[in-house]
């Protein structure tokens, strides 16, 4: 086994890498909490209606991007196929929502 002969300092290096990544993930979590507070705060304080809905949607998209890239590791190597699947899914999803709403609203 290739991984059986790994030297000890390599192991230490990897643990350090994991710690580093974990730090980024905790920071991501703090930002996600912040975005949630902003979104709820805007609705509770009744900010101007024209401006509020696009802002809420953008906040949600950013939060989801954080979740996918940091929590689900899509930013890491070897995630080209996952990215293709998710962007493919998102593209069809957008088309589906546009179709359903326009069918009924117009």
């Amino acid at each position: 086994m290739a991984y059986n002969s790994k030297p000890a300092h390599h192991e230490e290096y990897q643990r350090k890498q994991h710690r580093e990544e974990m730090k980024h993930q905790v920071l991501t979590f703090a930002l996600m909490i912040l975005f949630t507070f902003i979104a709820f705060g805007m609705v509770i304080m009744e900010v101007d209606t024209y401006f509020i809905i696009p802002t809420l949607i953008i906040l949600a998209i950013v939060q989801v991007a954080f979740q996918l890239y940091y929590f689900m590791h899509m930013k890491n190597k070897g995630h080209d196929m996952p990215a293709l699947m998710m962007y493919g899914g998102a593209a069809v999803a957008l088309l589906t929502i546009i179709t359903f709403t326009t069918l009924i609203w117009w």
Binding site: M1, E21, I44, G89, A93, T96, F100
Partner: protein, 207 residues
């Protein structure tokens, strides 16, 4: 790699979830599945957005929803997403005990979320008489939010089953992909919830 190396590895590799061909296949196939789930939820969101104005009376989104409850539920699910990140962090450092502990916290938060959701539906039905059959809005609302709740319940059963089944085995190259994929599913549940609290509850309150 022999069968014995997979089940009782003397030393685990850096990425135990992707060290075997089976693990790599599970990883890819699961992301494929999540792409499909995105489209499934999009069709439910599309239906909801199209029908949320057809309320047949005074049970409108603005009248029904209470943001305090939704805020608590959001915090519970968001935190459970972080605790499952911690679980995977310990998996990568090959610490099975700590991984199980963090998964346990994730499951507890998930059940708390589910409890609030059941309370919410109960409240709508008994206080407001707002049911699946009340209006097109009612059908669209319960289908979308209920489908997400069903995913939460499935995710919880999945993680609990994995935890119990592998309790005495410890971490190996056979079960590491299973834990990793269950945690991806759990994150995806949170991804869907972000859109639910934004589109259904917050946009519902704005009107």
């Amino acid at each position: 790699m022999s069968h014995e190396d997979v089940l009782n590895p003397t030393k685990l590799p850096h990425d135990p979830e992707k060290a075997t061909l089976e693990g790599k296949n599970k990883f890819l196939a699961f992301w494929f599945f999540l792409g499909g789930e995105t489209v499934l939820f999009a069709s439910l969101f599309g239906t909801y957005l199209a029908l949320n104005g057809s309320t047949q009376g005074e049970n409108t989104p603005e009248h029904l929803f209470g943001l305090e409850l939704v805020f608590i539920m959001t915090m519970l699910l968001l935190t459970s997403s972080l605790t499952s990140v911690y679980a995977m962090y310990h998996m990568k450092n090959h610490d099975f005990g700590k991984m199980q502990k963090w998964l346990g916290i994730t499951v507890a938060l998930g059940f708390a979320f589910l409890g609030f959701e059941i309370y919410e539906f109960y409240h709508y039905i008994h206080e407001y008489g707002f049911t699946f059959r009340s209006s097109a809005f009612g059908s669209a609302f319960y289908t979308l939010v209920g489908f997400h709740g069903g995913h939460v319940l499935f995710g919880l059963s999945w993680i609990v089953t994995l935890m119990i089944r592998n309790q005495k085995r410890g971490l190996n190259l056979y079960n590491a992909p299973k834990f990793y994929i269950a945690s991806l599913y759990w994150h995806f549940i949170d991804v869907v919830w972000v859109f639910i609290f934004t589109v259904v509850y917050l946009m519902g309150k704005v009107g």
